[in-house]
Amino acid sequence: MASLLPDEFVQIESWAADWAQPTQNQRWDKRLSSTNVEITEFYHAILPWLERILAHADEFPLGKLPERSARLFDLALMHAEIAPNVELYRGDPNVPHSFEERRFIAVHGSDRH
């Protein structure tokens, strides 16, 4: 099978299929449908790579990423989606004490990236 991510990111390749979500709505759904353990494992797996991912993304103009690099960038955006849950909410995949998340409508929710 062809690799999903740029070659130098082979070590985090296994996360790409499930966690590289291209829209805000998909990232939000992925978080809400994940467990505490799943988002915490994902957070710690990607964190050491985050600066390298962003440096790679900045080799390309804004929004003009080739396919595998775009997928890698989606992984970083997914990481931003769950980071507050791990860093601030003790791994709770929901925002604690919040309004029903699925009733919030994101106007930009279906846009790519």
């Binding site: 962003l54 993304a57 994101a106």
Partner: protein, 402 residues
Amino acid sequence: MNTLLDRRWAKTYPWLGESPVPTEPCVSPAIYQEEIDKVFKKVWLCMGRVEELPEAGSFKLKRLDFASTSALIIRGRDGVIRAFHNTCSHRGNTVVVPEGEWDNFGRKNGFTCRFHAWTYNDQGELTGIQEPQGLPLCFERSENGLTPIACDLWEGFMFINLDPHPSVGLTEFLGDIGRHFAGFPYHSLTHNFTYHTVLNCNWKIGVDAFAEAYHVTTIHAGSFPGTFSTGLQMVKLLGDHRTTAVCFDPPRSSPPVARLAQAKARGSLVNKVHETTLPPTMNDEKREDYAFELSVIFPNWLLHITEGIWFTHQFWPMGHDKCLWEGKYYVAPPQTNSERWALEHAMVLQRNAWLEDTATMEGTFYSLRSGAKPHMQLHDEEVLVRHGYHVLDKYLNKKDGK
């Protein structure tokens, strides 16, 4: 908050009093109807930004269910932005049929009613009639354009007034708050995210929940831990409107992803930066802990600005027990992919904070409907909430809404 215990705003604004505030306006259908008739159909209401209508024929359709209408706001070929009732001059049908529950945007050369194909141009003039020879001799095409709604601009924000003869113009209506917030680069901070939802509560419960910072240590213990410790500063009650500085000492340290995001782009309120583009009217005490300006522009719009960020909340009444909330957040457009990532993190954190804010609103309304508490007890830090009821009372007690 031991610096806040001296009732300083009560002393600054003694005419507001310190009495408990009646809760009946939050639950009464009769008072709701008075608010619609004497406030929402009489005052200037913010409709959005001129950037939403980039070219001739660009339009925005905004549902105003409280007035059983929708505002059709169009940029004409002459560049002028006008607003109209979305109602055909022929039999009164809806001209632009809205799609979905929320604002519609688009661009058209002509606006055609699908009932009998009467057509209006981008200046609201009636330009097309099917088989016009069948109309009575007394029919005047020039008198049968779309019904205009008063529309004016302030700092690139579009406002309408549903009163056919507004008692004051927009500049006079905004008064000192218009001057206080003038000169900020709203137009260049265009990277936006917007959320909306329908809340099962009275619109004022929503406005009030955002009009104070007393809730921050409790409600935002999750998303903004250890921040916002110094409360309201420089409160200014300006006519029907009100504004304050929200100040805080920044958190001593941030976790790794938050720290990286803050280093990459200006997107989060928690990240303190040097002020260079704020109007000179802001932070006139030059406080080091100044974080952002929070204002309520009467009746339903909250505008906040800080260096490189502005954001708004707006609550649209849909009945005494229901309202539409819109939260909008604007920052400078990213220049690089890593900046774009950093803004995603800022957006997620802000969205989460709004999820925390909106969590109380329906519960408050549900409980107030019990009638168990005929009054609410307001803290000195809730002086903006108190002022809101003071202004509303002034409007409702006016004869014939003038």
